[in-house]
Symmetry: C2
Subunit: 151 residues, 2 copies
DNA sequence: TTGTATGCAAAGGCTTTGCAGATTG
DNA sequence: CAATCTGCAAAGCCTTTGCATACAA
C-alpha cells in the first residue's frame, strides 16, 4: 500500500512517551487524539478527530485546545488543503518525511505525494530578503473514479 | 515596481465589457467589485473588498454572492494563503500570468512570485489517474523588515 | 497542592441562505 | 415582463474564550 499518509500508527504507549518528551500531561484525551491522528490514512479535520474519539470522547473545544498545543510542539502539522478549514497530520517528530497531497475536487479523497524539490523557489524567495521560508504546496484534480462517473 | 499582483487595473468600461462577455448583469456593485479587485496590489479578502467599495457600498452578503459568480466564470481566482479565510485576485481572463505568493508570517505582507514549473509534479499526479490537475503553491517566511524588528 | 485540563456555554469571524423588494435587460 | 440582483436578518460552520470544576504531577 502506497497511499497512506504515514506509517506511524502510534500505540497508546508511544503516544504517552511522545507527550512526556514534550512536557505535556498524559491525559486520556491527548493520548486519544494523538492515536487517532496517527492512525488516519489521511489528514483529519478537528471535527473528524472529534468524531473518531468514540469512547474517549471530549468536547470539540478540547480538541482545538489540544491541537494548538500539539502544533506548538510540532507534534502535529496543520494543513490547508483549500477547503476552508484545517486538517492535521502527525508532524516530523513521529513521521519523518516531508510530503504533499492531492485532493480530488469531486469526491474529496486525499492522496499522498512523496517527492518535493522546492529549492529553486526557495532560493528566489530568500533573495527577496525572506528568512525561515516554508512552502505550502497542494494539488487538486479529478480522480479516476470520479472521471468515470462523469461520463 | 515589481511587486504588484497584476497590471490589469480595470477601468469601469473594461469591467463592464468583461461582465457582458461573461453573461453577467452590469450592476454598479459588480463593476465596483471588479475594479476594486483589479486595482489592488495584493489579493483581497471579501471583507477588504467590502471596505474598499466606498460610495458604491453594498451588503457583505452581496460581495460573497458576487464573488461566487466571478469564480464560476473564472473572472477571479480564490486564494487560500493559510490565514483562515480566502483572498481573491483577478483571474487569468484579465491578467494572464500564473503566479504564486509569499506571505510574511509576522506582518502579513504579501508579495508575488512569478516563476512556476510544476510539470514534474503534475506528470507524477496524472500517472496516479488524476485529470484536470491544479496546484496550489504558496510560501510564507519572515520578511526583511520583520527580521530587523526581531533583533 | 499547584498547575494544567476539561466541559459547558457563549461568542467571534467568515460565509451562506431565505425572503421580499428593487433593478436589469 | 421575466430574470436577476440586492439588503436585511438569520443561521451555519469552524474556531476561540471565560469560567468553574476536575484531574495530573
Amino acid at each position: 500500500m502506497k497511499n497512506k499518509c504515514c506509517e506511524n500508527h502510534l500505540t497508546q504507549d508511544k503516544a504517552k512517551e511522545l507527550l512526556s518528551q514534550n512536557g505535556l500531561n498524559r491525559t486520556k484525551t491527548k493520548v486519544a487524539i494523538l492515536v487517532a491522528v496517527s492512525k488516519s490514512r489521511t489528514p483529519l479535520s478537528a471535527t473528524e478527530i472529534h468524531h473518531q474519539l468514540g469512547d474517549e470522547t471530549c468536547d470539540i473545544s478540547t480538541v482545538f485546545r489540544t491541537l494548538v498545543q500539539f502544533k506548538e510542539k510540532e507534534i502535529i502539522k496543520e494543513l490547508n488543503l483549500g477547503e476552508g478549514f484545517f486538517r492535521y497530520e502527525i508532524g516530523n517528530i513521529a513521521s519523518n518525511h516531508h510530503h504533499h497531497h492531492v485532493r480530488c475536487r469531486e469526491c474529496g479523497q486525499i492522496k499522498l505525494i512523496e517527492k518535493c524539490d522546492m529549492s529553486v523557489f526557495e532560493k528566489m524567495i530568500s533573495k527577496l530578503g525572506y528568512d525561515q521560508i516554508q512552502h505550502y504546496l497542494e494539488f487538486t484534480g479529478v480522480c479516476s473514479k470520479c472521471l468515470k462517473k462523469e461520463l
